[in-house]
């Protein structure tokens, strides 16, 4: 280390890095990773882990919703450790919260049969994704759902995707849109995933009966673009009365050119 450089701390093929975001040509010290590269990785992993374990500020998110009607619920997973080990509990609504939602449900009356849809904002595996982009995504989503009979927005703690099935059943909503924090990667820890399910049946609905739009974040799939796609899927789901493999994201040309 006399002259401050190692013979191998730099890989001469570093020009290949322009072809891929993969961590190539990192250089070496002996057989090991140079210090700056070691810490670069640890920084990315720390951000991802913190996003997984950060406490969900449901009340703070509710304040960002302006005057929109909302309700905060939780799953049967009481803490993060339980949530991570028991996905089955994260899919079920807390009993008291289920009763509270049932009291708010939209009664079936003649042609006006329940809510058209309910939107759920859920922590999932990244509370940070909802803190950073949840309210903004909801806002652009609402602009695309004018004329829909929507249930109050539900904010859910320690929630898995299928918790939305319980929510929709309790509120008597025909469709549920789950906006949920995705599992953080080393590249991004703030992605929201959107899961759309038509007439969900708690404990019965399979993943193949849902539509998913993922990687929603300003540096991934931008919020307005995601809202366009989700809005299209919701309209189609209402028309076709289904979601899942029978509902495709590909828009017919005349719609795509709108």
């Amino acid at each position: 280390m006399s002259n401050g450089t190692f013979d191998s701390a730099f890989d001469p093929w570093a020009n290949l890095r322009r072809f891929t975001p993969a961590r190539i040509a990192l250089g070496r010290t002996g057989d090991g990773l140079p210090t700056d590269r070691l810490l670069e990785f640890q920084a990315a992993h720390a951000l991802a882990r913190d996003a997984v374990h950060q406490a969900f500020d449901a009340e703070g998110l509710a304040e960002q919703l302006d005057s929109l009607a909302h309700v905060i619920v939780r799953s049967q997973a009481r803490d993060r450790a339980t949530y991570l080990q028991r996905p089955d509990l994260g899919r079920k609504l807390d009993e008291a919260d289920k009763q509270a939602l049932t009291a708010m449900n939209c009664p079936s009356k003649g042609s006006h049969d329940g809510y058209d849809a309910v939107i759920v904002l859920a922590d999932g595996l990244s509370a940070r994704a909802l803190h950073d982009h949840g309210a903004a995504l909801l806002r652009v989503m609402m602009e695309r759902l004018a004329g829909w009979n929507l249930a109050p927005v539900v904010i859910a703690r320690q929630a898995r995707v299928a918790l939305g099935d319980d929510v929709a059943a309790a509120l008597n909503a025909r469709m549920v849109l789950m906006l949920i924090g995705e599992r953080p990667g080393l590249t991004a820890a703030d992605s929201i995933g959107a899961y759309l399910t038509f007439q969900p049946k708690p404990g019965v609905t399979r993943d193949a009966e849902r539509n998913c739009v993922s990687n929603i974040r300003p540096d991934g799939l931008p919020l307005p673009v995601a809202a366009d796609t989700i809005g299209f899927l919701m309209s189609e789901a209402r028309r076709l009365k289904l979601t899942g493999i029978g509902l495709k994201e590909d828009r017919p040309p005349e719609l795509a050119h709108d």
């Binding site: 072809f19 993969a22 961590r23 990192l26 992993h45 882990r49 599992r183």
Partner: protein
């Protein structure tokens, strides 16, 4: 058939063989999720006491997953080699553990025994073994397979070069391949997990690697880890498919969730053999497994996840694979919660597969919602190096940008090879020396002036530049 054991003042009862195995398993989140784990440490040890006294031959007369309903059970029972089993046929599970650790159980004895062992026998015995037992016994097993390189020779550790990219961009994948080759990785396979499962893209990627291999005379095999039915179509259309890949599990229903059965695997195996692309051997299959996959598919038949995992190895060994690896930390914390559970599972999977005669490697890995980090992976990687693991993964910077999880890196491969004195497969090692990637002391220190390595990099860079 019930079992019981007394620990202290308490009598513990176990309703059947499946629950006895599950209660005897070291603690892990997936067995709790399935509701089959021991309720206390004492119950766990009581189960081990009862299990230790169980005759090994019990597993030949008890079908934990019904024979009539499950083709994996039928495969296990119908292919059992009674003559190979004879030397240990009189033993209990506890006596068999003692024998495995004894001097009598040397490499040739273990190899001869393998066809006489069933997955359930091996799983049961592993539940009585500490981590050091799993390492010591696995180290004695010798399983060597060949295609264009030799996998599993003593003193060797191979590496799968895993150059994945989120959109399968050929130039990006080529850049990662070059990086890995300069770090001495790729002797197990260059294996790409494709983002899209299509015949066209699979053929394109295979052709790219095949061109590289032939132009630079590299002794390696390639694989695109698409579905087995995709590979069958690639082969039908004359694509350069070296190995056929498939994820497999330990029950017929779990395999159905992967879209495969034994007949489809047999068809693919025969198609790959017919191509005769191997130069020094004809092991043409590559399988991946992992604890928890059967439960995830709700196809675990009430059994613990490790027993179901070992049953998958019966599927693998029916097709004489070149490579098998468990993807041990990929499935998530609801199955393996933390570094301790991942390390234990990795050692179990490696040892039990080796006992059954498989060329076992391990994807030493974790996700960001597991309680694990690179220190845990260093521990498992080192332990597996000591245990004689056939191969590990080499992912650029340990960060798989397509599958969004962390595995072992090219640097990690250098570390474990140099620290434990392990070398690449001999055919690949010779190529590394010829090219100037490896120096005269066996270290990966690429010399680029006037060497093959320098010409390889120089020729590839403009080519990938055009592609971009």
């Amino acid at each position: 058939m019930g079992f019981s054991a007394t620990l202290g003042q308490t009598l513990y009862r176990f309703d059947d063989l499946g629950s006895l195995l599950a209660r005897a398993s070291p603690a892990r989140s997936g067995d709790r999720l399935a509701g089959v784990a021991a309720g206390s440490d004492a119950e766990r040890v009581a189960a081990r006491l009862a299990l230790a006294d169980l005759p090994l031959r019990t597993f030949l007369t008890t079908d934990l997953v019904p024979y009539e309903a499950d083709e994996v059970t039928r495969l296990i029972m119908d292919s059992h080699d009674g003559a190979a089993f004879a030397p240990v046929a009189h033993m209990t599970v506890g006596q068999f553990r003692d024998w495995l650790l004894s001097d009598a159980a040397d490499g040739p004895a273990l190899a001869a025994l393998a066809p006489g062992l069933t997955p359930e026998m091996v799983a049961a015995t592993s539940k009585l073994m500490r981590n050091q037992d799993l390492i010591a016994v696995a180290r004695k097993c010798r399983v060597v397979t060949r295609f264009r390189t030799s996998i599993g020779l003593p003193g060797r550790l191979s590496v799968r070069l895993q150059p994945n990219h989120p959109t399968d961009d050929p130039a990006a994948i080529a850049a990662s391949i070059l990086d890995g080759l300069m770090y001495g990785c790729g002797d197990a396979v260059i294996g790409i997990n494709p983002a899209t499962d299509s015949v066209g893209r699979t053929t394109e990627l295979l052709s790219m690697i095949d061109d590289l291999r032939r132009r630079w005379d590299v002794p390696l095999q390639s694989c695109v880890l698409a579905h087995v039915t995709t590979l069958i179509q690639v082969m039908e259309r004359g694509g350069p498919a070296d190995l056929v890949f498939q994820s497999i599990a330990g029950s017929e229903a779990a395999n159905r969730s992967f879209g495969v059965n034994l007949a489809i695997l047999k068809e693919a195996h025969e198609a790959a053999l017919a191509l005769k692309r191997g130069t020094i051997g004809d092991n043409v299959m590559y399988f991946e497994t992992g604890q928890g996959s059967a439960l995830s598919a709700e196809a675990h038949h009430g059994l613990d996840q490790q027993t179901m995992e070992v049953r998958a190895y019966a599927v693998a060994r029916a097709f004489r694979p070149l490579l098998v690896n468990t993807v041990v930390g990929f499935i998530g914390p609801e199955y393996l919660y933390d570094g301790k559970q991942i390390i234990r599972a990795g050692l179990e999977d490696h040892c039990t597969a080796k006992l059954l005669g498989l060329p076992m490697g391990v994807d030493v890995c974790y996700t960001n919602h597991a309680e694990a980090d690179q220190d845990d992976m260093d521990n498992l990687l080192t332990l597996l190096g000591v245990a004689g693991c056939s191969f590990v993964m080499g992912v650029p910077g340990a960060d798989d940008i397509m599958l969004s999880y962390q595995s072992t890196s090219f640097h990690d491969a250098l570390y474990v090879r140099s620290t434990l004195g392990l070398k690449p497969a001999p055919e690949f090692e010779a190529w590394l020396a010829t090219m100037g990637v490896m120096d005269s002391r066996g270290r990966m220190r690429p010399a680029l002036e006037g060497t093959g390595a320098g010409r390889l990099l120089a020729s590839s860079t403009p080519k990938t530049g055009e592609a971009a």
